[in-house]
Each structure stands twice: as C-alpha cells, then as structure tokens.
Symmetry: C2
Subunit: 295 residues, 2 copies
C-alpha cells in the first residue's frame, strides 16, 4: 500500500510544497492553524484535519513546515499534537528551520513511541518551493531518508543526506551563515564602488567572471544595485535563523564573529520596520550608515 502523507503548516513555503506532493498523486491529509490556508489544498483534493493529532492518525509520513522552534515543539509534542495520533512505524519529517539541539530532543521523544523523525530544512525560497527546486538538507537515519526520498524529489532538486538527527538543521545553519556573510561582503563591495564613483553594475559583471563569483553576487547583488527588495527571503526570518545560529554557537563554544556582524545588520533592518523586505536589504543599512542612502 502506498504511503499516506500528511502536511502541517500551509504558509508561504508549506502551501506550494504540499501542493507539489498532492500533484504527485499522494493521498494527503493537511492541517493549518488558519482555516483559510486549507482551501487551496482541499480544492486540490487533500483531506482537511481538525488537529495535528488527526493528521498523525491518518498519515504514514507527516511533514511539518512551521515558523520557529516552539511551533515545531507544539505541533509535534503539544496537546493535540502529531505524537498523540502517530502510530509506531510512521515518520515525522520537519522541514522548518529550527534549533539543531531541540530537533534532536524531539526525535528522541518520538523514538520512545516508535516514531521516526527526519530534519529536512530547505533553501531556495518561495519560488523554489513553487517550482519544486528547493535544496533539502536531511538529518536522520539512512533507511528513513531512503523511504522519504521519492517525496523529497517532488519538492526539491538538490537533496543531500547530511548525517544523523540534527545534521540537516546544522547544515541549514551553515547555509544561512554563508549567505549572510556573502550578503555583507557583496554589500560592502558595492558600497565601496559607489563611494569611489565606480559603476556598481560593471563591478558586479567583472566580479562574476572570477573567484568572487557567487549566486548571492549574481542575484542579490543585482537587487542591491537596483534597490529592489521584494522578498525573496524575508529579513525577519533570516533574523530568526541567526538567533538560532548564535545560540548554537554559544552552546558549542565556538566564535562566529562574521556571522555576528551580519546578525547586527539584520537586527538594525528589522528594527527600522523592514523585516518583511528581502534580507539583502541590509545593503540599505550599509549605505545609510555612511550617509549614502538611496538605491
């Protein structure tokens, strides 16, 4: 009998991801806190559930895609959570971006009732979710990864089993660290070009031809030059990720001074009320700091 799937959390990312699973022919049970979020899925043939527990009862593989660490704990372990309904042998796949340490403790709790867990956070933003081209970074047992892999392939293009439980979240943290640094670096370079009276478009073009090349320079560099910050990936979410990362660094006893510089820029950006902009809008903070605002 084919796997019955569940999906909890139907926001900007979760909705298109769940739709891609449904279009692949899955039997799909869904839950969202906001009832109106259910409509696009039920219209596509999904079964609406009254609680995460009900999703847990109906499905063999239950995906969660919610905002933050506390939300994942609640929908999985809280009252009427997935764990109240899930049977031994079923699998919880959390695709949210949350704390690696909490991920491991949730996995340990589920294991006590025979429920497997994968952490599988994604990169690629709303467009990647719609197109089914996300990067998916997976932690958990190899055999469970292989069981879920065909469904990952409906949502993403680059799918890597990184390691044991929590490794997917650690990998996503690394991803956000690298993107954060590269945003700061590209932004500082474009600020330098502008302040020196040099065309930032030409600089971007020249740098793309050499070792300074990156996807961030290509995509976000263009946004910075145009002052075009419609998301993309919202600053307030990158702020949340940096909070998790710097907490994790403190727990592990490691220094990430560059990540801290980026986190401060994001704090300033969100603090001025621009948390809904793409996180590349930190370039505006860099410009304004030096009295060189404007796109």
């Amino acid at each position: 009998m084919p796997d019955r799937l569940g999906f909890i959390g139907l926001g900007t990312m979760g909705r298109p991801m769940a739709l891609n699973l449904k279009r692949a022919g899955a039997e799909l049970s869904v839950y969202a806190r906001r009832a109106q979020a259910l409509a696009p899925l039920t219209e596509a043939g999904a079964i609406a559930c009254a609680s995460p527990a009900e999703v847990g009862r109906q499905a063999d593989i239950i995906f969660t895609m919610v905002s933050d660490t506390a939300d994942v704990e609640e929908v999985i372990l809280g009252a009427q959570g997935v764990s109240e309904g899930a049977r031994s042998g079923s699998v919880v796949v959390d695709m949210s971006t949350i704390s690696p340490a909490v991920t491991r403790s949730i996995a340990a709790r589920l294991a006590e009732q025979g429920v497997e867990m994968l952490d599988a956070p994604v990169s690629g933003g709303e467009q990647g979710a719609i197109d089914g081209t996300l990067s998916i970074m997976v932690g958990g047992a190899e055999s469970v990864f292989e069981r879920v892999r065909p469904w990952f392939a409906r949502m993403g293009r680059s799918i890597v089993h990184v390691g044991a439980s929590g490794a997917g979240q650690v990998c996503k943290a690394c991803n956000q660290v690298v993107i954060g640094h590269t945003l700061v670096g590209v932004g500082e370079a474009l600020l330098l070009a502008r302040a020196a009276g040099v065309d930032p478009l030409r600089v971007r073009e020249a740098l793309l031809g050499g070792f300074a090349q990156s996807r961030v320079l290509e995509v976000h560099g263009q946004r910075m030059i145009e002052g075009e910050y419609a998301p993309g990936f919202k600053a307030r979410l990158h702020q949340k990720d940096m909070r998790i990362i710097l907490e994790t660094a403190a727990q592990l006893g490691i220094a990430l001074p560059g990540a801290a510089v980026f986190a401060q820029s994001i704090n300033a950006l969100v603090g001025r009320g621009s948390g809904e902009l793409d996180s590349s809008a930190i370039h505006q903070i860099q410009l304004d700091l030096c009295g060189r605002g404007g796109p």
Copy 2:
C-alpha cells in the same frame, strides 16, 4: 607598424603573463630588479633592458606587474623610471594591485607628458596567469582600453572596462572584499559543522546546490576541509590588499565592518608566520581560536 611591448616585474604573476604576450608574437622588452628573473623571457626571445626607463624608450605599451603601491610609483615615476623614457602617445598599463588614489595621481603625472595610463589589476592567481585565464579589471579611457584589449585577451578571459582611471583598482578592491567575506563565511560554516559533529564534506556538497553556492565554497571550502593551504593566493598579499582597502574606506568615509573582521584574521595568520600560505588558511585561525585546530 605593430605595437612594441614592454613588461616590468617578472615575478610569480608577471613572468607567465609576459611569456603569454611573447608567445603571441609581440616584440617585447623586459626589466626586472633580480637579473635571474630575466632568463625565462630572454630565452623566449625578449630583449633585456637595464632600467624601466629603457623599457619606456623601446616600447609603445609598457605593462607593469610589481608588488605594492610604492613599487609602482618607483618603476614609473622614480629615477630611471618608465616616465624618463616613455614618449608622448605611449601607454603604461599597471596590472599590479595598488591604491586607487595613487593610481589616479600617477595617471595625472603621466598625462602631463602625453603618456596614457590604464590600471588593470587581475584576479585568478598564478594558475590563471599561466593559463591566460585571468580576470582583468580595467580603468582608464575607452579608446586606450580598446587599443590594449587584444593584448589583455592573451593574458585573461574575463576582461571588463570598469570605468575611468582608478576604476580597475576600485573593482579589484571590491573583488578582494567579496572573497575575504566569503572565506570568513565558509570558514565559520565549516567550523560550525565540525563543532556540531556534522561531516563538513556533506555540508559543502549540500550548500553548493543552493543560494550559498560560490567559487570560494567550491575551491577554498575544499582546501579548508583538507587543511591544504599551498598557494593559491598568498595570505601576505591578501593582507596588503586589505590594508589598501581599509585605507581607501577611511579616505572615502565609509564603514566596512565585515572586511575589518577578515583583515584581523589575516593579520593573525601572517603574524603567526603563515603569510606564505593561501589566504584560505584563515580557517586555521578560526579553528585554533576555539581550540579545535587540526585539519
């Protein structure tokens, strides 16, 4: 009559660059401070000169590739410098990485005697110089750029006319800022992975599939994972570039906090006697700082 070329500075970068010009059939006059550096060029048919001034007398287009700002000033404007020999209508092309402000002042001095100047610093390292695949970032008049372009094409692959005099140096500064940030970011991410017990090779692989992709992650990330720091691009040269960049930022009145974080890591690396290693060896500083040294 075809252009007669000159080349001054036959070190790690200059030697293969000059050889590529000679192989393209140019009549080539050369000068180097160390006499033994001349041998590979004279064996290839170049004419050895006793001073930069003599190169200036013999050539129509004189390339310079030396270490630092003061060296460029000396070989162009100093006693027995290029300017003592160069005729009106000839072109000086400085391919060293030096101060944008000093570049503009040298160009102004040469203009007084009717000599044109381009600043054309490169990226791509020794291998790029040997293979003729450098990125060349050019500042100066468009018509002069067009005159020299066929020769640039013998040394590089990505050749961008960035803007007026100094714009090539500003662009190179931007290039070094972006690479520096990306090195710090990739290094912090790999430190985080390692400290959290996650395989950094898998993390690199997963990140290359998404928005964290960069040439630095691909090439220098691999070096960091293997602890393999044979240059490449030497830390002491990246230190010199960061000194120029932070001086330029101060002159322009702009803040580059992330570039400063990278510069401090490079200072520590050079300070411990590792200036001849590739600049990606800052990862060793990141690891050692947290008591997690070793490749």
